[in-house]
């Protein structure tokens, strides 16, 4: 809501009225000032002048020759506009004048007639958009005044953002009322007084739908003359962000801004029949609104209709057919109270947010319609020369809405929420300043006027007390909670994240969606868990239409983004939820949404430098990353087994089993996926369920390092290709028993002289006892049982023991 301080001064006297201070006060009351705009004339040497004569130009048809005066010797000015005649008061840019935007005006000959300066339009003076004709002043303005000195042109406009709970502040009177409460001064509301004629109204009013229409007031004004509204009104409307149209239409906007009550003016003669009915629209009914759009109506729309058809969308926008035009003489003024949800629904459904709907959808004071209709009638009769009928039609469909609410307010409520100091005198003072009735000591009986629909409960009054007392006048106190901090799994998640960063992976955060084309890239089928997709009901774009069932498309997107910006080595991870089309185990009403950790890397990984050969990533890289994580996270009891899954390399991917339970997959991304993602080389990835990784674990136990010497030796085995190194290590390790300190594969070999399908594994073992030096008998025995255990899993010791 744009508030002109010049206009505001009609309703409240502010001393001192510094715009900055007013802005600050309004903000402290909860009305954010989005912008403070200073308006000032940016033209010079432009004066008001009376047009004495207007004659045709001897050598041109489209322009005329005028004689104008500021009171002294008349001068000749040539003018191309036709919207005025002799007697009009106009804006005359004298020779040497500067117009808005910097154009300089001189004395020049126009087709043989010397023109002394020019007569200006509103646009030329930067006062408005109107360039159709020149600016014509109201008759009361004398000639010879410097236009730059017009007080109404120097103004400050505050653009207020009013919260949805405060429809009462969406008007000049409402803003004045708020300031009056703060400054402890009075404010003024218009009290319409105007001549009335005794005649029966022509149009009867029927409200068919009391659920949508609480009240409907209509007033008729006869014999109006539609023309331009006066300069002062146009200036005020423009400062408030409204485009002047014609006096009758401008008056409806003026009253809306002044009182907050939207008004509609119908051309009474264009209404079919003798009555207006407020009803729901018929199925298939249509209405062309004032903006020229043909709207298809449904019974969820509420309309103001004549006997034949809908003529306005209730509280939203009028219809074109009954629009007030230049030829209108009989006007019906409508001031009504509409049901907020109904108006909200219509304005959303028709994507039509107007000044009227913005107010009605929040709730307009149902006591206002008669006042606003009278104010509009006063202005129409005064400015458009009409005669207002004395008889007013006021249909109250919902009496209950007109009754003020009373709240019994216990002082304890204030103290409990606001702290000490809110005793009866203070509370009564604050409430009275807010124009609420306050009676009694404790409880205080508070009567809430109908313009404050937001105040229904004691807590609403608590907020009002705090607001007027000043949110920043409360002392500061810092309460302490009982503690709790992070849970085990939150702490372990942090450890996991730090470990990944330590391994050179950067954390990425992606939007939680995926799109159909990304699903195609990975190529999973219906059976796959990743096919348990949940779609958005109201997606805005294809990119954000499906919830992600896996973190990998997002990570691949990150790799792709970086590659396209010339960064070929990408190592990223993400921690986040995926969403699966099945019920959550604990909260069955919402979908399953487990947390995952995913990572992906391309190119080479690890420290780099002069003469450092870095290994391109492959399966062994991701497995090494996992082993490092398992150490950092103290996760034992895991195992990797080969897996074939859509989107993964069929021979270079593994499922991770933790305590025998599958928790995810790691390995190389299928080369076809890599190609489709327009990447190259090997791409490694991992995606694991987070919960089992970060769940509370048994604590690791200290083992004292032995002071006795180790027995270190290598063993080379020949084995079938499909014997997992892990199986051989655990078989031989078990055979070595407690003596085994470490075992590490240091060579894997395939090819000649081994046969097809065979491989050789060389393992370095260290045996050591905690309490003695191992004897040659003991080591010999250990080696023999290790060789035997290897044989049992299919591996032959190469060479002699």
């Amino acid at each position: 809501m744009r508030v002109s301080l010049n206009w505001l001064a009609d309703y409240i006297d502010l001393e001192p009225s510094q715009p900055e201070e007013i802005a600050q006060v309004l903000e402290s009351l909860g009305h954010e000032v989005e912008e403070t705009e200073r308006l000032a004339p940016d033209f010079g040497r432009v004066v008001t002048a009376r047009v004495l004569e207007v004659e045709a130009h001897p050598r041109a048809d489209r322009i005329r020759v005028c004689r104008v005066t500021t009171g002294g010797e008349p001068q000749t000015v040539v003018c191309g506009a036709w919207n005025f005649d002799a007697g009009a008061t106009v804006a005359w840019a004298l020779p040497g004048a500067t117009l808005s935007g910097g154009t300089e005006i001189g004395r020049r000959s126009i087709r043989g007639v010397e023109s002394n300066g020019m007569i200006c339009s509103e646009r030329e003076l930067g006062l408005g958009e109107d360039a159709e004709g020149i600016l014509v002043f109201d008759s009361g303005i004398p000639p010879g005044e410097d236009l730059a000195g017009f007080e109404s042109l120097t103004d400050t406009v505050l653009d207020l953002s009013i919260t949805p709970n405060r429809p009462d502040v969406m008007s000049y009177v409402g803003v004045a009322r708020e300031l009056a409460a703060y400054y402890r001064v009075d404010y003024r509301s218009p009290e319409p007084a105007f001549p009335l004629v005794d005649a029966r109204p022509r149009i009867g009013i029927t409200v068919d739908d009391p659920s949508g229409c609480y009240r409907f007031v209509s007033r008729e004004v006869r014999g109006c003359q539609v023309s331009q509204s006066p300069f002062w009104m146009r200036t005020r409307l423009r400062a408030s962000g409204q485009r002047p149209i014609s006096n009758v239409v401008d008056i409806t906007n003026y009253v809306l801004l002044e009182l907050g009550q939207p008004i509609h003016a119908f051309d009474l003669e264009k209404l079919g029949g003798e009555g207006i009915v407020v009803r729901r629209a018929y199925p298939g009914e249509r209405l062309t609104t004032l903006d020229g759009v043909v709207r298809d109506l449904t019974p969820s729309d509420l309309v103001v209709a004549d006997r034949q058809r809908a003529s306005a969308l209730a509280g939203t926008m009028g219809g074109g057919a009954s629009e007030v035009t230049a030829s209108t003489t009989e006007v019906l003024i409508e001031a009504a109270s509409w049901d907020p949800p109904t108006v909200l629904h219509m304005s959303k459904r028709h994507a039509l947010r107007t000044e009227a709907s913005a107010r009605f959808e929040r709730g307009v004071d149902p006591a206002l319609p008669p006042v606003a209709a009278a104010r509009a009638a006063e202005l129409v009769s005064g400015l458009a020369g009409g005669e207002a009928l004395a008889e007013v039609t006021d249909v109250v469909a919902r009496e209950d809405r007109l009754r003020p609410v009373t709240i019994d307010f216990e002082l304890r409520e204030a103290e409990r929420i606001l702290g000490p100091g809110f005793d009866a005198p203070r509370v009564t003072d604050l409430l009275s300043r807010l124009h609420l009735g306050a009676d009694g000591e404790d409880p205080i009986r508070v009567e809430v006027p109908t313009f404050r629909p937001d105040l229904t409960r004691p807590i609403d009054l608590v907020e009002e007390l705090a607001r007027l007392w000043g949110y920043n006048n409360f002392p500061e106190r810092v309460p302490r909670g009982p503690g709790g901090g992070r849970s085990v799994s939150q702490r372990r998640t942090r450890t996991l994240r730090q470990a990944l960063c330590g391994l050179g992976f950067s954390e990425s955060v992606s939007l939680s969606f995926m799109r159909a084309s990304e699903i195609e890239i990975w190529g999973w089928d219906e059976e796959d868990e990743r096919a348990l997709q949940i779609h958005l009901k109201n997606p805005l774009r294809d990119e954000e239409s499906i919830l992600r069932t896996t973190l990998l498309p997002g990570l691949l997107r990150v790799a792709r983004y970086n590659h396209s910006h010339g960064l070929d080595e990408v190592a990223v991870f993400e921690l986040g939820r995926v969403f699966l089309d099945r019920p959550h185990q604990v909260l069955p009403k919402v979908p399953d949404q487990p947390e995952r950790v995913g990572l992906l890397a391309t190119g080479r990984l690890g420290g780099s430098g002069l003469g450092v050969t870095r290994r391109p990533v492959d399966f062994y890289t991701v497995a090494a990353v996992w082993r490092a994580l398992s150490h950092q996270m103290d996760l034992g009891g895991w195992r990797l087994e080969p897996v074939e899954a859509a989107g993964w390399h069929p021979a270079r991917a593994a499922r991770l089993l933790l305590d025998g339970r599958p928790v995810g997959i790691m390995g190389e991304v299928h080369p076809a996926v890599v190609r489709r993602a327009e990447l190259s080389g090997r791409v490694i990835a991992m995606e694991l369920d987070l919960d089992p990784l970060v769940a509370d674990r048994r604590h690791w136990q200290f083992r004292a390092p032995s002071v006795f010497p180790p027995y270190t030796f290598d063993m080379a085995f020949e084995a079938p290709e499909d014997l997992a190194a892990d199986d051989l290590l655990s078989a031989t390790g078990e055979a070595a028993g407690d003596l085994l300190e470490s075992a590490r594969v240091f060579d894997e070999f395939r090819g000649e002289p081994l046969g097809r399908g065979r491989k050789s594994l060389a393992i370095n073992y260290t045996l050591r006892a905690p309490d003695r030096t191992l004897s040659s008998e003991e080591t010999g025995e250990a080696l023999r049982s290790m060789a035997e255990a290897a044989r049992a899993v299919g591996a032959q010791l190469r060479g002699e023991l």
Binding site: I417, G419, E476, P479, C501, G504, L536, R541, V590, S608
Partner: protein, 345 residues
């Protein structure tokens, strides 16, 4: 014996005159070797009368020790010198980054969340999480948001094609549903912070994203007042933005708090006025929404609003990170450009 004295006299000059370890070895051979005066005297000791032998023997031992010390001292000196020369030739360019470890970086959203949580943990809060795919019941109903409220429209909220339509399954629009979920399961006192993802029906642009992050705070106890809210937020502002910060609260409107406020912190980058990048010259930075928990929320979760009171606040993680570090436009949080990620600390 005269020869021994003469030897001891000339030995220091001889030893100190050596400049390499080889020369020193030659000198050592001359002084203590098989053909040296000392060796000869030693060999001749048997030919002396028995009563002279002990004295001569002692003199010879004395001379050996003296000469040996002399040579050892010189040897250490020469060795040190030779190592110094060798190391000097091994000089590096200390400015050359010949080796770099691969570093990984925590995302700014995460580190901001961790820092804010740490601040509140210091005040005795617990960190909790909650579902991102939520029901309208927790996202709206429990939070005093009526069915007709505009925020429930499809133009604002992303709904999921899932579950019972009556449950209005949606992507939570704020972290506030956890207020209701947590209070439902726990008795007061409640001091929690809830970081997490939230969703809105927005297409990505410079200032909007369909996904962003919030941190919710909730404190419910027996005697919490508006002053506790003010004090807690002022404490947070000082911890997060610097000890000089002041705050101001401006009245605002949220369905689930009353009184409701918007919290601003004094700008950390300017004194107000002028062309400040951070506050635009206003001197204050809008940081978060907050308020006293509405009694309807307490009633919904089964708390007695006449017995407990509390406050809640919700801050945008990207917002406060953006204010502090200037990351703009918003997409830099979600593009995951390594050149951006590597700036995060």
């Amino acid at each position: 014996m005269e020869s021994l004295d003469a030897l001891l006299e000339k030995a220091p000059t001889l030893v100190k005159g050596t400049s390499t370890l080889d020369e020193l070895s030659e000198a050592e051979a001359e002084l203590l070797g098989r053909r040296s005066v000392v060796a000869e005297l030693q060999r001749g000791i048997g030919r002396l009368p028995p009563e002279e032998r002990p004295a001569v023997g002692r003199a010879i031992q004395e001379a050996r020790r003296t000469l040996g010390n002399l040579i050892e001292t010189r040897r250490r000196r020469l060795e040190t010198e030779s190592e110094r020369l060798m190391l000097a030739s091994d000089r590096v360019d200390v400015s050359l980054a010949a080796l770099e470890y691969q570093e990984g970086y925590t995302h700014l959203i995460t580190s901001t969340i961790e820092e804010v949580c740490d601040i509140f943990i210091g005040l005795g809060y617990r960190v909790v999480g909650g579902p991102e795919a939520e029901s309208g019941i927790y996202n709206f109903d429990a939070l005093n948001t009526p069915p007709t409220h505009p925020s429930r429209l499809e133009s604002d909220t992303l709904y999921l094609d899932w579950g019972d339509p009556a449950d209005e399954i949606l992507l939570r629009t704020h972290t506030s549903p956890m207020q209701a979920r947590y209070m439902e399961k726990h008795d007061p006192p409640v001091y929690v912070v809830v970081p997490g993802k939230v969703f809105r029906a927005d297409t990505p642009d410079a200032t909007h994203s369909p996904v962003f992050h919030q941190i919710e705070g909730l404190a419910v106890d027996e005697n919490l007042t508006f002053s506790d809210l003010r004090g807690t937020l002022a404490y947070f502002a000082r911890e997060f933005f610097g000890s000089e910060r002041r705050i101001r609260l401006l009245p605002n409107f949220f369905p689930f708090t009353e009184p409701s406020a918007e919290m601003h912190a004094s700008c950390f980058s300017c004194e107000g006025g002028g062309q400040c990048r951070v506050c635009g010259g206003v001197g204050w930075i809008e940081l978060l929404g907050c308020g006293m928990v509405d009694p309807n929320v307490f009633e919904w979760v089964g708390y007695d609003p006449s017995q407990v009171s509390g406050f809640a606040f919700g801050m945008g993680v990207e917002r406060i990170a953006q204010v502090r570090h200037g990351v703009s436009p918003l997409r830099h949080f979600f593009d995951n450009d390594l050149r951006v990620l590597s700036q995060f600390r």
